[in-house]
Amino acid sequence: MPAKRTTKSSSQGKKTPELLFGDLWEFDPAPETADPNLRESYSLFIGGEQVAPKSRKFFESIDPATEKVLTKIPAAGKADVDAAFAAAETGLNKYWAKLSGKDRGKYLYRIARLLQDHAREFAVAESLDGGKPIKESRDFDIPMAAAHFFYYAGWADKLDYALPGASYKPYGVVGQIIPWNFPLLMLAWKIAPALATGNCVVIKPAETTSITALKFAEILQEAELPPGVVNIISGAGATGQHIVNHPTAAKIAFTGSTDVGKAILKATAGTGKGLTLELGGKAANIVFEDAPIDQAVEGVINGIFFNQGHVCCAGSRLLVQESIAETFVKKLKTRIASLRVGNPLDKNTDIGAINSKEQLDRISELVSCGVEEGAELFQSSCSLPKKGFFFRPSLFEGVTLSHRIAREEIFGPVLSILTFRTVNEAIEKANNTAYGLSAGVWTDKGSKILKMSTALNAGVVWANTYNKFDPTSPFGGYKESGFGREGGKQGVCDYLKVES
């Protein structure tokens, strides 16, 4: 039966209408229960074998949502890095260089399939180790990683079509260093094109998120990939330096901060090593007054809160046209109210844990700085778990280009809001940064999308969407966001030495 209908409009009252996002219908916890199959401690993966680190050193990997120790991760020393490169060189000369593109492709297809088979356990491991919501690791990270192996598998015997008329050859052994925000996906971005083009690999996952990379070694064994073709060694910055400086590394592929990128450039100066650098960003997400507003709100939310804002291409600077700024910010705040922050393993969690204590401290520091510099902070009033590293979804109003929060990469769930009046002002503000990784444009006008896309100095421009990725779609930045592209045909080219 219908509830009783009131005949009087509530607009007659003076109260401003508000929406109530309460607990009338609260969701029960829905934890993902699949077993991540973690070991008590892990080994390095060198020459096709699980080997103990010669350094005899281990460090603990903790769950950022509970601060509990998950497992022990080996810290590879110089001798371990040497062993990995020696194994890679042997793998290259003895096996990989002798295989046809067709057969290299078959191994990649195998890896893709096995990743799909183990998808759920990888998703749980990824969320446990890194703090990202299970729905993201389950619906995005892991399937996208498998998709990359599928995509590049098919390129392995078709390289001539990627570089028509060129004379090219693989680098040989490639050193790869990946970040902690998309651990397995970044591994796939690095390994799949490298292998497809005939290179062998020494790869290091980030210190705080090594588990899925080391689990991936088990996939490679299951796929019977020839020994030494991929070597996975864990460790911190020092291990990374050994990789960068290793004479056998003919190319270094790095994803991480711009500062480390510059250090790598200096370290490799004069060596002739090839480089792909995917570095930081401070992307503008530009909302015009003619935008589809609710979709733009959703896109801005997704742009900054996806993966707790631990995304190099995060839309961390909202540029909204002044004429709609007030309405738009109000809508953003309403939307933030229904975001669920909490246990990463809960299927209904929208925002999980900050990856590490260190990162949480950095975010907190930059947010305090924003407040000190006079920007106006708004934070979701959601409840946060008592243990673990969590940060409320936050936005700053009244930000100008000179504020630190508008210039530095925060790498957390913090949005800075700026306004503009004209198309040209939007372009100027968007491009006023040393970075140039990505940008978002929201308008209902197709020709304006293309004008903006042409004018913005960014490697990826999302129109009426944000944070979209695809194996076929090249990704990478302009200016100090690095060089080289990952994904697509361009991703193939950057793992080949081309005569030019």
Binding site: P164, A166, K262, A269, G272, S453, V460, E480, G482
Partner: protein
């Protein structure tokens, strides 16, 4: 009594204007017997900075030209060179190091190379760019864009052909260039500047400096506005340049000094020389109603 000829004062070519070094310094160009030919401007770091500024100013407009138009402008440059081919050949052999026959051959190849790259302007995009079949309702495409201002240090040998071979693929795609001419024989570059002035290439797109590598290399490497470097360089100098370039994450292409034989070969011209100084931009455009 024979007529006393009027001698020409060689000038660098910056922002579409002929300049002498702001420092007023020159260095003598002598022939191989040591006889004085003329004084060449010894451009300074400040001249380089001004040239970068000019290149930065001109770059946007040049990149904004239609590909067809860029092709026509470069073809016109070829026409200018063809008309003054003998003059260029004389310039190459002015020091007596290069026999005139070899110089004439070099000029022919250089002109053909200009025509080669002028033909690429409206085609490289079709080969290098593409649409990407993403799994979603988006029209996704990758196009190339010029990186911006590119610094070029040309090889000492092949004073004309080396310069043309390094510079043409870079400007073909809409970049602008600040180039340091051959130190051993800058004269063809000075002459080329005069031809550029009568071609339709907008001033500032190609800036030709004369001077010494040792003096300018550091500024080439560290100037933040310069987004790419194409340097013919002794391997020993490489590390220093790359360390300095790291500060602004430049695209650096370093090649060993090549000889005329290399520059004359087909290997010295390629689509991939254009690709070296391109950015790839990928756009996701929704497909909906």
């Amino acid at each position: 009594m024979s007529r006393i000829p009027v001698t020409k004062t060689p000038k660098a070519y910056v922002g579409g204007k002929f300049i002498r070094s702001e420092s007023g310094r020159v260095f003598p160009l002598n022939d191989k017997r040591g006889e004085f030919i003329c004084n060449i401007p010894q451009c300074t770091r400040k001249d380089l900075r001004n040239a970068v500024q000019a290149a930065g100013k001109a770059g946007g407009g040049w990149a904004g030209r239609t590909a067809y138009n860029r092709g026509q402008v470069l073809y016109r440059l070829g026409e200018m060179m063809e008309a003054r081919a003998e003059e260029l050949a004389q310039a190459i052999s002015i020091t007596g190091e290069v026999p005139i026959a070899s110089a004439r051959r070099e000029v022919s190849i250089a002109i053909d190379r200009v025509i080669y790259y002028s033909g690429w302007t409206d085609k490289y995009e079709q080969v290098l760019g593409n649409t990407n079949p993403v799994a979603g309702s988006y029209f996704n495409f990758s196009v190339t864009e010029p990186v911006g201002v590119v610094g070029v240090v040309t090889s000492d040998s092949a004073s004309l052909l080396g310069l043309i071979s390094q510079v043409l693929p870079i400007i073909a795609s809409g970049n602008s260039v600040v180039a340091l001419a051959s130190t051993t024989n800058p004269y063809p570059a000075i002459l080329l500047g005069e031809m550029l002035a009568t071609s339709d290439l907008p001033g500032g797109v190609l800036n030709l400096l004369t001077g010494f590598r040792d003096e300018l290399l550091e500024t080439f490497a560290s100037h933040e506005h310069i987004r790419g470097l194409d340097l013919s360089l002794d391997p020993a100098a490489r590390a220093q340049v790359e360390v300095l370039a790291a500060g602004s994450i430049k695209r650096v292409k370093i090649r060993e000094q090549a000889d005329l034989g290399f520059w004359s070969s087909e290997k010295a011209q390629s689509l991939y020389a254009i690709r070296s100084f391109l950015e790839f931009k990928t756009t996701w455009h929704p497909i909906g109603a």
